[in-house]
């Protein structure tokens, strides 16, 4: 169960963090 959770959560964690960081950069660039 832990391994299957990790298979889903590791990419999800990276993608969520990346989306947040990109959004912050884009927001700053627009201002």
């Amino acid at each position: 169960v832990t391994v299957s959770l990790w298979i889903v959560l590791i990419p999800l964690a990276g993608i969520l963090a990346a989306v947040f960081l990109v959004a912050m950069l884009v927001r700053r660039q627009r201002r």
């Binding site: 990276g14 963090a17 912050m24 660039q29």
Partner: protein, 174 residues
Amino acid sequence: MDTDPLVRDYLGRLQAAAWPLSTDRRDELLGEVREHIESALGTAGRRDEVTVRNVLERLGPPEEIVAAEVDGEPGAAASVQGAASAAVVPAAAPAPAWGALEVIAIILLTAGAVFLPFVGPIAGLGLVWLSTRWTTREKVIASVIVLVLLVLPLILLFAVDVPSVGYPLGGSAS
């Protein structure tokens, strides 16, 4: 006080140098410095040119204030200084939001998380912390997102396993 050209010039330089900060932090910093100048001039009891120059000198160059605000990250002072001198040129293009470091960090966080489990996102976070384009707050939020989701399965594992500690060994198999 803002009518004082020396102070206005100083605050203008501070604003130009503060491009790496978020708008909120930039406004906050400008307000704090303005307040500090006002209070120092109030204490001095004079607003002549020498007093104003002394107060501004004690504050230090705007670039250094911003560099300290960017948490002394490597190269922050240099990039801030560079940006300030670029801002003096009226037609200077704004600094691009993306550098190679940022692009690699994002790739490691997304594709890296799929192809290099654990190593990819952690290395991506490392690069995020090395970058000066994100504020400390943003870096902390991104780190928390990654770390919480990486640790969550372990927490669930322990939460599920704890009740089974008293389970008789091999008892359920027969």
